[in-house]
C-alpha cells in the first residue's frame, strides 16, 4: 500500500440525506422485491409447484401400488412427508438461480453501491425464497391430503414438522444462494439440479433406505434429507414408524437440526465472501 497521505477531510455537510437503510429495513425491502418477482413470474410460481404435485401423483398412483406397506404405514402416508420435505429442496433451488440472475443483470452491483450492509442483500433474497418455498410446502401438503395422506401422530407434532420444514428451507436457501454466486449465470445455476436429485432420491424420502444397495445406504443414511424426512415422518405419523426407519425422533431430530445449523453457519460467510468479490 502506498502511504502518501492524501486529504481525507470530511465535513459532515458534504453528506446528504442518504443515511442508508438500517439492516432490517434493507433486508425486508429486498425480501419484498424477491417475493414480488416470484409472484409475478408464473413460471417461478407454478413451475416448481406443478412439477412437485405431478411427481407426488405419479409416486402415489403409479409406483405406490408396487411398494409394500412399511411399518404399518400405507405408501401414501409413507411418501407424503418425503414429498413435503423434498419440495423444500426444489423450492430452494430458486435462490441459486435468483442470485445468479441478479448478478448477471447487474442488479447486485446496483444494490452493492447503495449505503446498506452487504449482508442484507443476500439475507433479503434468502428470506424471500424461504417464504416462497414455504408456500410450496403448503401446496404440496394440501395435495398430499387430497390424495389420501393422513396424519396419525397428532395435529401438534404435524404442525411442528411443517415448522421444521420451513427451517430446513431456510438452510437450503442459504446453501443454494451461496452456490448461486459460483454459478456464473442463471443457466449455470440450473445445473444445481444435479445436486438436488441425488440428495432427494438417494434418501428415505420415496423408498425405505433399507431397500438400497449397501454403499448407497451409507450415503442415504448420512445426508441431511434422510434426517429431515424421517423427523417429519415420525412427527406426522407417530413414534410407531420409528422402528421401521432404524432410529427414533431422538436421533433424527438433533441430526436434522445439526445439518440445518451446519449448512446455515457454513453458507452465510461463503455467500457474503463471494458477494464482496462479485
Amino acid at each position: 500500500m502506498t502511504t502518501i497521505p492524501i486529504a481525507t477531510s470530511e465535513p459532515r455537510s458534504t453528506l446528504n440525506a442518504n443515511r442508508g437503510a438500517p439492516f432490517p429495513v434493507a433486508t425486508l425491502t429486498i425480501t419484498a422485491r424477491a417475493v414480488k418477482k416470484s409472484i409475478r413470474t408464473p413460471s417461478i410460481m407454478l413451475g416448481g409447484t406443478v412439477s412437485g404435485v405431478m411427481f407426488l401423483l405419479i409416486f402415489r398412483y403409479v409406483f405406490g401400488g408396487a411398494v409394500a406397506h412399511l411399518g404399518g404405514l400405507s405408501y401414501v402416508d409413507f411418501v407424503a412427508p418425503g414429498f413435503i420435505v423434498t419440495s423444500v429442496l426444489f423450492g430452494a433451488m430458486a435462490a441459486g438461480t435468483g442470485v445468479a440472475e441478479d448478478l448477471q443483470a447487474g442488479l447486485v452491483d446496483r444494490l452493492r453501491s447503495l449505503p446498506v450492509r452487504a449482508a442484507s442483500i443476500v439475507t433479503g433474497r434468502v428470506i424471500g425464497d424461504t417464504l416462497l418455498t414455504s408456500w410450496g410446502l403448503v401446496v404440496t401438503s394440501a395435495v398430499a391430503f387430497a390424495v389420501g395422506f393422513r396424519v396419525h401422530g397428532g395435529i401438534g407434532p404435524a404442525i411442528g414438522a411443517l415448522g421444521l420444514s420451513v427451517l430446513y428451507a431456510f438452510a437450503f436457501c442459504w446453501l443454494f444462494a451461496a452456490l448461486g454466486f459460483f454459478a456464473g449465470s442463471a443457466q449455470g445455476a440450473q445445473q444445481l439440479a444435479f445436486l438436488v436429485f441425488p440428495l432427494s432420491f438417494v434418501s428415505s424420502a420415496y423408498v425405505p433406505v433399507s431397500t438400497m444397495p449397501g454403499w448407497m445406504q451409507a450415503f442415504a443414511n448420512h445426508q441431511p434429507v434422510t434426517a429431515m424426512v424421517d423427523t417429519a415422518r415420525i412427527l406426522a405419523e407417530g413414534h410407531a414408524v420409528a422402528t421401521a426407519l432404524g432410529h427414533g425422533l431422538g436421533y433424527y431430530l438433533p441430526a436434522s437440526l445439526a445439518w440445518t445449523a451446519g449448512m446455515t453457519v457454513l453458507c452465510i460467510p461463503v455467500a457474503l465472501w463471494r458477494l464482496q468479490r462479485s
Binding site: N16, G20, G106, L107, D109, S113, L114, P115, S185
Partner: protein, 344 residues
C-alpha cells in the same frame, strides 16, 4: 471543496491480468468527466473502484474526500451508480423500482414515494410509471436505470458506458438527461468508448490505457494533439480540384494547409471546427462552379487519438481480455443483445 476523485497509485489485478497498473488521477469537482479508452483499458475496473464495488490491491482512492476503502459507507451515501446493463427489476413497475432504491438509500416510505415521483417526472417516465418495466423499451429501461441512481439525489453520478447498445435517438435523449443533471449541480463521471460521446458531454476527458492514465484535458485539447477535422472534396475533373483547393484555402486553413491531388481530383483542408465550416465550404464551392462528386467531413476518431498518443491502435495485444470482472466478461458483452431483447 474536496476533489471529486483523487487516486494515487491504484493497482488491481485479476489473477494474472493487471487491470489497474498504478493509476494516478485528480479530478476537480464541477465538471463532467469522461473516462475514455478501448475495451480492456481498465476503465470499468476504475469506475467499479470509485463505486466501491471492488477494492484496489494497492493505492488510495478518495471520492469527494472520502476514502473508498476505509469510509465505504460515506462514499455510498454520496454516489449513484448507473451502468450499461439497466439494472432494474423487470417484473416491478418503474415506480416500485425507484421506491425500492430510495428506501435502501434510507429514505422514509413517504419520502421515497415523493423522490420516486419527482425522478419519474424528471426522466420523462411519469406516464409509464405504473407499468411493469418488462413492457418498457430499451431506452426507457436505461432512463429508469438512470432514475434509480438519482432517487438518492447523489452528489456524484457514476455511469459505466451509459449509452452502449442504445439506438441513436435514445442515446441523444440520455445525453440530454445527463447534461441537465450536470447543469443542476450533480457531478458526473462516465466511461465511454466513443470520442464523440466524451466530446458531447464532458468538459474533462481522461484517457486510460493498460491501467494507466495516458492523457487528460478538455476534448479540444486532446483532439488538437491528434489533428484537426478535415473537409475533403472530390470533383468531377482535375480543373475542378484545383479550383476547389483555392476555395478551401480562402476559408482560412489551419495546420498544414490545403492538400490537393489533381490526379485523384481531390482537395482537402484541415480545420478545427469542421461542422462549423462545412456550410461555408459548400457555398464557396458551388459559387465557384466546382462540380462536386463527393464532399466529406473527416473527424479524428478514438483510434487516431490512440495512434497519436501511444503509437499503436486501440486493438493492441496485451490490452485485451480484461473487462473489469473477468469471470463474467460475457455479461458486459451481452449489453447490446440484452437491449435488443428489451426492445422486443
Amino acid at each position: 471543496m474536496p476533489d471529486l476523485i483523487e487516486a494515487r497509485g491504484l493497482v488491481k489485478r485479476f489473477r494474472k491480468v493487471v487491470a489497474l497498473d498504478g493509476l494516478d488521477l485528480r479530478v476537480p469537482a464541477g465538471q463532467v468527466t469522461a473516462v475514455l479508452g478501448p475495451n480492456g483499458a481498465g476503465k470499468t475496473t476504475f469506475v467499479r473502484a470509485v463505486a466501491t464495488l471492488l477494492r484496489p490491491d494497492a493505492g488510495r482512492l478518495n471520492v469527494l474526500g472520502h476514502d473508498t476503502a476505509r469510509d465505504t459507507m460515506a462514499v455510498r451515501r454520496l454516489i449513484g451508480l448507473a451502468g450499461q446493463s439497466a439494472a432494474v427489476e423487470p417484473t416491478m413497475t418503474g415506480r416500485e423500482n425507484l421506491v425500492m432504491v430510495a428506501r435502501l438509500y434510507g429514505r422514509s416510505r413517504k419520502e421515497a414515494r415523493q423522490r420516486a415521483a419527482d425522478v419519474l417526472e424528471r426522466i420523462g417516465l411519469a406516464a409509464s410509471a405504473d407499468r411493469p418495466v418488462k413492457t418498457y423499451s430499451g431506452g426507457m429501461r436505461r432512463r429508469l436505470d438512470l432514475g434509480a441512481s438519482l432517487v438518492g439525489a447523489p452528489r456524484l453520478l457514476v455511469m459505466d458506458e451509459p449509452t452502449t447498445g442504445l439506438d441513436p435517438r435514445s442515446r441523444t435523449e440520455l445525453w440530454d438527461a445527463i447534461r441537465d443533471l450536470a447543469a443542476s449541480g450533480t457531478e458526473v463521471l462516465l466511461t465511454t468508448q466513443y470520442l464523440d460521446e466524451a466530446d458531447q458531454l464532458a468538459q474533462r476527458v481522461v484517457i486510460v490505457e493498460a491501467g494507466k492514465v495516458i492523457a487528460e484535458g478538455t476534448p479540444a485539447e486532446l483532439k488538437s494533439r491528434v489533428g484537426l477535422d478535415r473537409i475533403e472534396v472530390h470533383t468531377r475533373d482535375a480543373a475542378g480540384a484545383a479550383t476547389a483547393a483555392t476555395v478551401l484555402a480562402a476559408l482560412g486553413a489551419e495546420g498544414d494547409g490545403v492538400e490537393v491531388d489533381l490526379a485523384m481530383r481531390r482537395a482537402s483542408v484541415p480545420c478545427s471546427d469542421g461542422p462549423g465550416l462545412l456550410p461555408a465550404a459548400t457555398a464557396g464551392l458551388v459559387a465557384a462552379g466546382v462540380e462536386i462528386e463527393d464532399l466529406t467531413l473527416r473527424r479524428p476518431t478514438l483510434d487516431e487519438v490512440f495512434m497519436a498518443l501511444t503509437g499503436h491502435h486501440t486493438q493492441s495485444p496485451g490490452s485485451e481480455g480484461e473487462k473489469g470482472r473477468p469471470k463474467r466478461a460475457h455479461t458486459e458483452q451481452m449489453g447490446p443483445k440484452q437491449m435488443e431483447g428489451a426492445l422486443r
